[in-house]
């Protein structure tokens, strides 16, 4: 009985959050005001974080909140606040080509995801790290990250350092 209630609750939360994330991400691209877009982006990221929680990945969920919803969107908001939004609203810039190209790319991406989900089943064989093990222990995530996936991890670090140095050089150039 109790287990049944749990499953039903999980489904309800999943459906609610999935719907919310889709709705919020739709609102992200349709809002005129970029700050509102950024806020809906936060909502999207938070609802995706709840989906991670349903998959027993506490660590990923909370990192999603700290890094994306907290830090990155904060930087986006910071930059937007420095811009004069009313100029953008008044200019009535017509964007036709980018809409077509963007729409085409979006549909392509959708098909890519559909192919990945439908044709190639995403569930592989069960490894040593079951959801329960990863969910109750952040150490497990760290172990996998620094042994099995060390190379991709290092590559990402190098990319990030390159991006930081690039940003510093670009900003120093002007003065």
């Amino acid at each position: 009985m109790a287990e049944n209630i749990g499953t039903i609750f999980q489904w309800l939360i999943f459906l609610g959050m999935a719907f919310l994330s889709v709705l919020a991400s739709f609102l992200v691209i349709t809002r005129k005001n970029p700050i509102h877009s950024a806020l809906f982006l936060v909502l999207t990221l938070l609802s995706v974080a709840v989906l991670y929680l349903l998959l027993y990945s506490q660590f990923i969920a909370i990192i999603q909140v700290v890094v994306y919803a907290g830090a990155i969107v904060m930087l986006i908001v910071f930059v937007i606040m420095l811009l004069d939004l009313e100029v953008e609203l008044r200019s009535k810039l017509k964007i036709v080509y980018s809409k077509v190209i963007g729409g085409f790319l979006a549909i392509l991406f959708l098909f890519g995801i559909l192919y990945a989900v439908v044709a190639k089943s995403p569930t592989g064989k069960v490894g040593p790290y079951t959801p329960d093990k990863v969910s109750t222990n952040v150490k497990a995530v760290g172990e996998v990250l620094f042994t099995q996936y060390l190379f991709p991890f290092e590559i990402i670090s190098i990319l990030l350092v390159a991006a930081i140095i690039g940003a510093v050089i670009l900003s120093k150039k002007r003065t």
């Binding site: 806020l39 506490q58 909370i62 830090a71 908001v77 910071f78 606040m81 952040v138």
Partner: protein, 339 residues
Amino acid sequence: MQLLYLLIEIIVKCVVVFAGLMIVVAYLTWFERKVLGHIQIRFGPNRCGPFGLLQPFSDAVKAFFKEDLVPERSDKVVFVMAPMISIIAAISIFAVIPFGNQFTIPGTEWVVKLRLADIDVGLLYIFGVASLGEFGIVLGGWSSGNKYGLTGSLRAAAQMISYEVALGITVVGVLILSQTLRLTEIVRLQEGGFWNWNIWYQPVAFVLYLICGLAEINRTPFDMPEAEAELACGFNIEYSSMKFALFFMAEYAHMVTMGALAVTLFLGGWQPIIPQLSFIPGIVWFCAKLFIFLFFFVWQRGTYPRLRYDQIMKFGWKILIPLALINLLITALIVSLKG
């Protein structure tokens, strides 16, 4: 039946923690004024009730009955939402703070653990929710359509991003020692007297935590977002009535949380000073230690002047972050050498 009891326990704990936090926040404002008053050789609030003890209530009533203004040029929805984000984040951080060990209800076998949620990523949860709470301040200043408000929130965003980095790196030192993100585990590892507390193993991290913590909660040497003298109150300049009070409460609740986290990470949480004194309940120890930090936060406000904005940014990026990194490296080196 077990499920029902559990539900009742959770609800009761939520209500008690919420009410307790609100009372602490209310009397923290009174305490701050009183201490600041005595530092500046005056009395502080002394009209409402004995020793001005009813001052927080009279403040609340006053805030409640003031006119609630929403500026014409403001972004109305965001303007109303901003204080809500602030207060919700400030309160929900407190969910993972362990303010005591467990006790058994007399006459039953029901064990009550004195914390709301004991999650595996407790420390990260605090940082996550705190970084969401910053949106309240930033959006509040932006949405009011006022140049002082905008400047305040720009400063808030820049300052919080900078000091959050240093704060995060600082705390990692404690994490390396305790090898867990679970706050109850961190407390349990500091068991057995004050010589086992993390403050002796991580003194640099402790000092850095206090400095960065002050910057995170926008206390005086770092209160750039609301610098009265230059920004006329900064991000909350257009706010009135309960919305202003919510910002105010969020700031003080955040202050309590920073103190509580410092107690948990560095001063052994609910553990007594020496094991012989463990007959005193853990929650008393926790509150006593928390009081030290709250007094410190108030005391230093009466002592230090406000820094300049560029000095704050320079201090954060060029001194605090390198120091935190060095501390982290040395801690990691010692821990790995000891095996």
